[in-house]
Symmetry: C2
């Protein structure tokens, strides 16, 4: 893994800003490394900037009483993390934690606002990005509220597949704990454990510890469709 994976073209910022800005970005940006399990920022922290993920994997999550948490989304390279802070409030409404060793480009809020003020079309694209994030959030809202647990777990597996992809043997590239699957599906560890076991028995998936392989994507989709 290179020390600086930034190619000044693949992240959302570089891909969407006016090319001339890149010279400024390369000076202003800061590359930060995160170890597996490391907290990137915490719900309630003061917002200081925005992150563009180069490599690794990150979960964005939100707390509720005691130890309960909901994972809002999983992100991979190219994704934006910390954009929720751009709204009125100046505190992060969510936390972000690295699921694997990760590298991110950090842009301070001050600099980001300079870009936004100067680059009209970047602002427009960022607005579109928010809009599509909002659509996804509402889809998930509906699923969490109306879909039964098995459907939500199946859906979680499909989303993990989509976000992280697979290696040569068909296993997902990022190992995810059952607890994290539960936290994304809005259920408990035990329920995930039991359901993954029946999925394994039915040969719909294979598990090797935290490494998961989906054998029958269509059957998972069927479970989602039939989930109430």
């Amino acid at each position: 893994m290179s020390t600086d994976a930034c190619d000044l073209s693949s992240c959302f910022l570089c891909a969407n800003c006016i090319p001339e800005w890149r010279e400024v970005i390369v000076v202003k940006k800061e590359t930060i490394h995160f170890k597996k399990g490391e907290l990137i920022f915490k719900e309630g922290d003061k917002v200081n900037g925005i992150y563009f993920l180069y490599s690794g994997a990150v979960k964005v999550h939100k707390q509720w009483v005691d130890q309960k948490e909901l994972i809002i989304r999983f992100t991979r390279q190219g994704d934006i993390v910390g954009h929720r802070g751009l709204a009125a409030g100046d505190l992060y409404p969510v936390s972000a934690t690295a699921l694997a060793a990760s590298e991110a480009c950090f842009i301070s809020n001050v600099f980001l606002e300079t870009i936004l003020k100067a680059d009209h079309s970047f602002t427009y694209r960022l607005m579109q990005f928010y809009s599509s994030e909002l659509q996804k959030a509402e889809m998930r809202m509906r699923n969490l509220a109306l879909m039964e647990v098995k459907g939500r777990i199946a859906e979680t597996l499909l989303e993990l597949l989509e976000v992280f992809g697979t290696n040569a043997e068909g296993y997902m590239t990022v190992p995810v704990t059952r607890q994290d699957i539960a936290a994304y599906a809005g259920t408990t560890y035990e329920t995930v454990f039991k359901f993954l076991k029946t999925l394994t028995t039915d040969k719909i998936i294979n598990t090797d510890g935290k490494h998961i392989k989906i054998n029958a994507e269509n059957k998972l989709r069927k479970i989602v469709k039939n989930a109430k």
Copy 2:
């Protein structure tokens, strides 16, 4: 109720665009009336524009298998409806239905994009609006996933109070069916019915058909806090 409630200043568009644009807006806009229960647009319809609500009340909702639906949000005057269509896809991801006789200003997508291209700061404000909507959506995601039903119903009542306000006697200005409360809280009619009954017995609320009065807001908040 006046025929045209638009004062060219109170809606999100007029309040945030460059003043000069208002002259154009007044020509391009279209005032539309909706009867109670009337569908404004339907999930899957082609997006043709955006609505700014002048008066009345609207629910934005999303379908799931059969007759199941989740109400995404309730809106009152001043609010934007239909903005979800601005993203990549060109189909509305949600439906909108008038809860009471309502008036809205309709702006076609073509004209809206003209404004967005020309008015940098309007685009910026709209982006901020999306960002705050996203935060709300994620908060609700968490609640739907982790909070138990009683807390969600209590939360629903508090949100209705916040959005619709009360009349002189303390009753909410917009009557809402228990089915709609259920659809917002992500539960069934029966559960809402049972819980509202105990709330009435405990004198925390008063109900007169669809008209609800909250007597002890603090007790509702306590229920929300203690909901798991």
